[in-house]
Each structure stands twice: as C-alpha cells, then as structure tokens.
Amino acid sequence: MQGLDFSVVLPYSGILWMGVWWTVVLTVSSAVVSFIFGIVFAVTLLYAPKIVTYPVRSFIWLFMGTPLLLQLFLIYYGLVQIGIDIPALAAGIIGLGLHFAVYNADILRAGIVAVDPGQAEGARSIGFSRLQTLRYVVVPQAVRNTAPPIGSNMIALLKESSLVSVIGIAELVHAAQLGISETFRPFEFYLTAAALYYILNLVLEAGLRRVERKVEVSR
C-alpha cells in the first residue's frame, strides 16, 4: 500500500487534455450520427414498405438486446473482415452512433406518432408532397417534442464513449492509461479522469437545459 499522490498526474495534464478533446470530438460526432440515423430509422419504421422495415426492425432489436461493448468488437473486427479497413476512431463513431441511433429511433418514432395528424393533413392540403410534409412539418415538431429524452441519451453517450478505449482510441480513458503505464498510479489517474468526465457531464447537462428552454420558448 502506497500513499496517494495526485501530483504525479500533473506532468500528464497535456495528454489528459488531449484525451478530453478526443472524448468531446467522439461524443459530438457520434451524437450527430445517432441523431441522423435515429430519424432515418424512425421514419423507415413508420412509413417504408414492409420489406424495408423488416431488416431495420431486426437491426434495432439486435442492438437493443446486446451490450455496446460487444457491438464495438463486432464493428471493429467485423468491418476489417469484410474488407473495409477503417481507422479505430471511425469504427468507434459508427459503433457509438448506431448504438444510440437505435434508442433515439424509439423515442423519435413515438414523437412522430404524437404529432397532431391535423398538421400533416394541413400540409398535404396546401400541396406539400408526402416527403415534404415529413421533412418540413412532422419531423421538426417531433424532434422538438422529444428533446428531453434525446438529451438524456446524449448524456449516456458521453459516458459510454469511454468504452471505445478498448479498441484503442486515444480518448480520456486511454490517456489516463498512458499515464498509468509509466507511473503505475491507477487510482490517481482514473480518479482524475472520473473528475474530468463529471465536469464534461455538468457542462453537457447545462447545455442541454439551454437547448430545451429554447425549444420550449419558440413553441
């Protein structure tokens, strides 16, 4: 048993900040992917012909029933096996993005169904095509109404982004591990990383609250 000494972390602050930066990049990119695919999945499930909804439904079912870590292994090693050699970072973004897209799709689908049918009828009667109605009338309202639950998915995404350290992406956990490999001080480094995640989390929560307020006011 050795005493704790947090000053060992200081020389590594540059590396840890890079880790924070990459965690932010990873979270934001995956959030965008999860949002876009969430809308695509939700619209597909609701409006596409059965032959298209079936594979999407099985995909959602599969990704909801299995752990993210397992999915990351599948994507990272699976893509290489079928001849797509992508960098680990891209695999991480795809993995995180698709995992949360599935959960976002569930929320967005409920959001789309909850939009007053009069909205779509109105848009159609003034000459909007089906696609235009979805794009300009129904989906924007659905997104607005589902902002809080999608926001909490994004908070989960920030924390789950730590998992991609296992496929070798140099984000915050990985940065901490680099320091540990040279100093053998896991407690200090992981606790520092935890504190940084906590701060990121608070910042994200505050940001989401602002977005939610904005969305509410303009209604």
Partner: protein
C-alpha cells in the same frame, strides 16, 4: 457463416453466460439495497443525509461505469482494497446501478399523490407509519417498471466487467474473435445468449407488473 465453429464455441459461451447471470443477479441485489438507502437518504428530513444521497447519486451517475470499475479494481490496491475481479465487478456494477435505481425509487415515492400522505397524517399516522403503510405500498407498484428498465440495462452493462478480466460472455467473445477472426459468428452466439437473458428479465418484470396490477 461457419456453423461448425459456432457449435464448437457454444459450450464455452454457456459457461460464460452463467457468470454473466451470476454477476448481474448479485449486482442487482446489491444495487437494490444501495438504492433503497440512497433514496431514503435523499428523501430524508436531515440535511446531511440528503446531501450524502445527492452526492452519491450525482457522482455515480455522472461518471462512466467503466472508470468506476477501474478505480475499484486497479486503483483499489493503492488504498488497501484488494478484490478479486468477480467481487470488484459485483461491487462496481452494484454501486453504479444502485445510483440509477435510487432515482427510480425516489421518482416512484414522489409520484404518489400528496393527498395520500396528508390524509394519513390527518388521521394520526406518524411520519414513519405514513411512509411504511401508505406511501410505500403505492410507490412499490409504480417502481416495478423503472426498476425493470434498470435491471435490463444492468445485464447489458455487465459486459464491462470483461475489462477487469472477469471471464463472462463479452470476455469470451473477445477472446474467440481474437483467436478465430470470425467476428460475425462469435457475435451471433453471444448475441443470442444475451437476448435470451434480456428477454427473460423483461418477461419477469412484465409478470411482476401484471401480478400487482390495480384492477
């Protein structure tokens, strides 16, 4: 699809599934105890207790479970806590899910109509009796679903303990992917078993919910 390979690895996965089930069940038990304590602390009249509950829930929900496991398992020896991977996994997962379950319990207690407590107090129930005989029986019914969602998340979250070398399903999957280079086949086997467990948990929650349905 290499079916022969899937058949060959299946027994290893069955054994690993047992570890996943054990670790999830133990973590669920620990989580419920921790959650009950944390929720009571957050709902308590004493300010210091409320603060302890709030800080615990906020910190454990505000940081990644992976880091919590790493601090406990890799950092633990530095502060004199030496745990086997399995024990560290149960404690780490249990403390983490406990923070989420605390909010499920608290939410259910707060969702019970205030008039119930007021009426109980009016006819002479003490605070404790009001909680025990009036609020909790009603809240228990309301917390079944949210706690069920937490339990399903816990089963999937148990994959994290593979990183502290508990030989459960994801650890086994990772090892076989590394040695066979057949990620799709291995994923299919692991996914099948995970889905069976998740489905079983979800069904159990459904049954409990039905059993206590108010008709």
């Amino acid at each position: 699809m290499d079916l022969a390979l899937m058949q060959r690895v299946f027994p290893f996965f069955l054994e690993a599934a047992l570890v996943t089930i054990q670790i999830s069940a133990l973590a669920l038990g620990l989580g419920l105890v921790v959650a009950a304590l944390a929720a009571s602390a957050k709902l308590s009249r004493s300010a210091p207790l409320r603060m302890i509950g709030t800080v615990y829930v906020s910190v454990w929900r505000g940081t990644p479970c992976l880091i919590q496991l790493f601090i406990l398992y890799f950092g633990g020896p530095q502060i004199g806590i030496n745990l086997e991977p399995f024990a560290a996994g149960v404690i780490g997962l249990g403390m983490n899910i406990g923070a989420y379950m605390a909010e499920s319990i608290r939410g259910a207690v707060l969702a019970v109509d205030r008039g119930q407590a007021e009426a109980a107090r009016t006819i002479g129930f003490g605070r404790l009796d009001t909680m025990r005989r009036v609020i909790l029986p009603q809240a228990a019914r309301l917390m079944i679903r949210p706690l069920g969602v937490n339990a399903v998340a816990l089963v999937k979250g148990s994959a994290l303990v593979s990183t502290i070398s508990v030989i459960e399903m994801t650890y086994t999957a990772q090892r076989f992917i590394g040695s066979t280079y057949k990620p799709f086949e291995i994923f299919a086997v692991a996914a099948l078993l995970y889905m069976i467990i998740v489905y079983a948990v979800a069904r159990t929650v459904d049954l409990i919910d039905k059993r206590y349905e108010i008709v």
